[in-house]
């Protein structure tokens, strides 16, 4: 299968994302001004600081021509993974519910966290059992997940919470310890932790690879 990794001015994790994807298929970069997604089977919106996080993180990037195509791709059921800044972009684009706010303690956090998988129907979770724990790093200043109470109730009831920070490990004050959410259909996943940084035993964990492998499994 072929992965496409979007690249905005200010993206910084697109190379790691390409490498992670290439361990679960083939991968290429997609430039943000190009509406042609090049026939990819899945899209990653990577981490970084697109457009310098001007105005709000993700607010400008979501207007890009490539993102219009990603919205169509997602509506047609294509798998889309937003990581960190990519998660912020997907929320700003309305492809995922909620928003990411400044970390509760105003600090940029950079550390390994444990994520608990939640019962949810998504290709990204295909190889992961509910209740399993994954070790994946976070690195962000604006990762406090927020959704208004009525939205929160809907996504909790609808099985749209994909990952929670393990008890006591919430690094940013996210409501309900939420680390990652899905769209209603389950084909779009956004999360603050960086699975693409956890694909090689050299850096301590290969748990992140399982998200990419889950999608690859659906294409074999």
């Amino acid at each position: 299968m072929l992965w496409g990794v979007l690249q905005f001015p200010g993206s910084c994790d697109e190379r790691d994302a390409v490498r992670a994807c290439s361990l679960a298929g083939e991968a290429r970069l997609l430039w943000h001004e190009d509406p042609d997604l090049g026939g990819v089977d899945a899209v990653v919106v990577p981490g970084g600081f697109s457009y310098g996080d001007y105005l709000r993180a993700g607010a400008i990037a979501r207007i890009s021509r490539a993102m219009e195509s990603v919205a169509e791709f997602a509506a047609a059921g294509g798998p889309v993974l937003g990581i960190c800044n990519g998660f912020q972009v997907l929320c700003e684009a309305g492809l995922l519910p909620g928003a990411l706010l400044r970390n509760e303690d105003l600090r940029f956090v950079c550390r390994q966290v444990e994520l608990v998988a939640v019962e949810a129907d998504s290709p990204f979770l295909a190889g992961i059992e509910a209740g399993e724990t994954l070790s994946i790093p976070v690195k962000h200043g604006e990762g406090r997940y927020y959704a208004p109470p009525e939205v929160l109730e809907r996504i909790e009831a609808g099985g749209q919470v994909a990952f929670r920070y393990a008890p006591g490990q919430n690094p940013n004050g996210s409501v309900g310890d939420i680390a990652g959410v899905l769209n209603e259909a389950g084909n779009v996943l956004g999360l603050m932790p960086h699975p693409e940084h956890a694909v090689d035993a050299m850096t301590g964990s290969t748990d992140g690879l399982r998200l990419f492998a889950g999608v690859q499994g659906a294409f074999v």
Binding site: L55, A99, R102, N103, L106
Partner: protein, 76 residues
Amino acid sequence: MKARVLIRPKEGILDPQGKAVERALPALGFDGIEHVRVGRMVELEAEDPGRLAELCSKLLANPLIEDFEIESIDGA
């Protein structure tokens, strides 16, 4: 029309920037300051002010987490 758009975190949403400012004030001798909220201000000139609210809710503010208000500053 010259306009000023004021954007602030919605009531009820924790504003850690406001809290940090609030906590810093007593050290400078400013006591009795409460409920500090930090937002953003955008100034612009619009040919068609009729579309300003739409522009604010689509880009300048995220209505999920922020309130905005538009002030005319013509002749100011």
